[in-house]
C-alpha cells in the first residue's frame, strides 16, 4: 500500500508505475511490449510539459486494449494505474495538457518556486537552499532566483509560514 498526498502528481505516479511495468514486460505480446512503452512515452511527454492534444484519449484506448489483449497478468494489469488515475484524477492530466501546469507541484518542467506575501524574512529558506538561489534578507521578503533554482523543494519544506508557492 502506498500513501499519497496532494504533493504527489498522479500523472507522475502513473508514469513511474508504467516505467517499471514496461521494463518488466517479457516482450512476447505486441500490446504489452509496445503498448506499455507507448503509454510510458505519452506520460513522460506530459510530465515534461510536452503533452499533445489527443494524448489523454490515446492513453485511454491503449490502457483498455493492452489490458484486454495480453496473455499474462503483467500486460493485463500494467495499464491499471493509468486507467484509475484517469478515472479519479482526470483534472490533473488535463492541467498538464491544456494549462501546462502540474497542480501537485511535482513535475519539474512545469513548476517554479515563488515567495509570497506571507514571508516574514526569517531566512530559513535561504539557509536551506543548497545552491544559494535565495539571498539572505533578514526581516524582508525573500525571493527565489529562478535561474539558479534546481527545484529541490528544500525551501518549501523549510518554510514555516506557508510563504512559498509552487506555481
Amino acid at each position: 500500500m502506498i500513501v499519497f498526498d496532494d504533493r504527489n502528481c498522479m500523472v507522475d505516479v502513473a508514469r513511474l508505475a508504467l516505467r517499471s511495468t514496461s521494463a518488466e514486460s517479457c516482450g512476447k505480446c505486441t500490446f504489452c511490449r509496445i503498448g506499455t512503452k507507448r503509454m510510458l512515452e505519452i506520460l513522460e511527454r506530459m510530465c515534461a510539459g510536452k503533452g499533445q492534444p489527443g494524448d489523454i484519449e490515446k492513453l485511454e484506448t491503449l490502457a483498455d486494449t493492452v489490458s484486454r489483449a495480453s496473455l499474462c497478468g503483467l500486460g493485463q494489469t500494467a495499464p491499471n494505474p493509468v486507467a484509475t488515475t484517469l478515472q479519479y484524477f482526470r483534472d490533473e492530466y488535463e492541467a498538464h495538457l491544456a494549462g501546462n501546469r502540474c497542480p501537485a507541484g511535482r513535475c519539474r518542467a512545469l513548476i517554479r518556486y515563488v515567495v509570497n506575501e506571507n514571508c516574514i524574512g526569517c531566512t530559513l529558506c535561504a539557509q536551506a537552499c543548497p545552491v544559494g538561489a535565495i539571498e539572505y534578507r533578514p526581516y524582508e521578503k525573500h525571493e527565489v532566483a529562478v535561474e539558479l533554482c534546481t527545484l529541490c523543494d528544500k525551501c518549501w519544506q523549510a518554510c514555516q509560514e506557508d510563504a512559498i508557492d509552487i506555481v
Binding site: S22, A23, E24, S25, C26, G27, K28, C29, T30, F31, R33, I34, G35, T36, K37, R38, E41, K58, T61, L62, T65, S67, R68, A69, S70, L71, Q76
Partner: protein
C-alpha cells in the same frame, strides 16, 4: 459435420455452429466452418506463440480478447470474429507493430501488406522510440533484419528442433527484446543447418533467404 457428441465439441463461430475434435484451436475450427480469421505470427505445424494478437477474437462471457491460434475450443463456446472492438484491436496491433519497425516493413512482407490493406492502420498514431535494427548479413544463405522482427520466435523453435548447438534465442525483455544468436555470435555460427527452414517460417521476412540463393 458428424454429430457423435461424446467425441466432438460443438461451438458457435459468428452464428455458425460447428463440431470439431477436442483440442482443435478456435482458428482451425473457424477454418472448418469456412470463416477466415486473420493471422500474422501463426505458422502451421509448430506450437503457436499467440503473441501478435492479430488473430484476436471475442469469446462471449469473457472480458479479455483471446488469440484464436492458440485457444482450444470448448463445448458451447460462442466466438465472435468480426465485431467492432475485435477489428479495432487488430488495427491497433498493426499500428503498434508498424510503429516499431523499418519504414519498408509493410511493403516487403506480402502478409503484412495484405493485413495493412484490410485494416488500414494509421501508422502515425503511435509514433515513438524504435528499437535499433543492426542487420546481420554474416550468413551465406540468409539475412536478418531485426527491423522487421515481430518477436514471433518461430525461428527459435525451428532452430532448436533442428538441433542447432547455438541456434537463436529471445534475448532480454521489455521493449528492447530481440531475437538473436546467443552470446553475441553472428548468424553464420547460429544457423549451421536450419537457416532455410527458419527463413521459411518467418512471418515478416525479417529472416530472409538471400535472393541469389533462390
Amino acid at each position: 459435420m458428424i454429430s457423435c457428441r461424446h467425441s466432438m465439441v460443438t461451438l458457435t463461430i459468428d452464428n455458425r455452429r460447428v463440431g470439431v475434435e477436442p483440442g482443435t484451436t478456435v482458428l482451425a475450427a473457424a477454418e472448418q466452418a469456412g470463416i477466415r480469421i486473420p493471422t500474422l505470427c501463426h505458422v502451421p505445424g509448430i506450437e503457436p506463440a499467440a503473441g501478435c494478437f492479430v488473430c484476436a477474437v471475442r469469446i462471449e462471457g469473457r472480458r479479455n480478447l483471446s488469440p484464436a491460434c492458440a485457444l482450444p475450443v470448448s463445448e458451447g463456446m460462442v466466438v465472435i470474429t468480426q465485431s467492432e472492438d475485435v477489428r479495432a484491436a487488430r488495427k491497433m496491433a498493426l499500428e503498434l507493430l508498424l510503429s516499431d519497425c523499418t519504414d519498408d516493413c509493410a511493403a516487403i512482407s506480402p502478409l503484412v501488406r495484405s493485413l495493412v490493406e484490410e485494416y488500414q492502420p494509421d501508422v502515425c498514431r503511435f509514433t515513438g522510440e524504435r528499437r535499433t535494427f543492426p542487420k546481420d548479413v554474416s550468413h551465406p544463405d540468409v539475412t536478418y533484419d531485426p527491423g522487421k522482427c515481430i518477436l514471433r520466435g518461430a525461428c527459435v523453435q525451428v532452430a532448436a528442433a533442428a538441433g542447432e548447438p547455438l541456434g537463436l534465442a529471445v534475448i532480454g525483455r521489455g521493449f528492447h527484446v530481440a531475437v538473436a544468436v546467443p552470446f553475441g555470435k553472428p548468424l553464420s555460427e547460429g544457423l549451421r543447418r536450419a537457416a532455410q527452414r527458419c527463413a521459411e517460417v518467418c512471418p515478416t521476412g525479417a529472416l530472409a533467404l538471400r535472393r541469389a540463393a533462390r
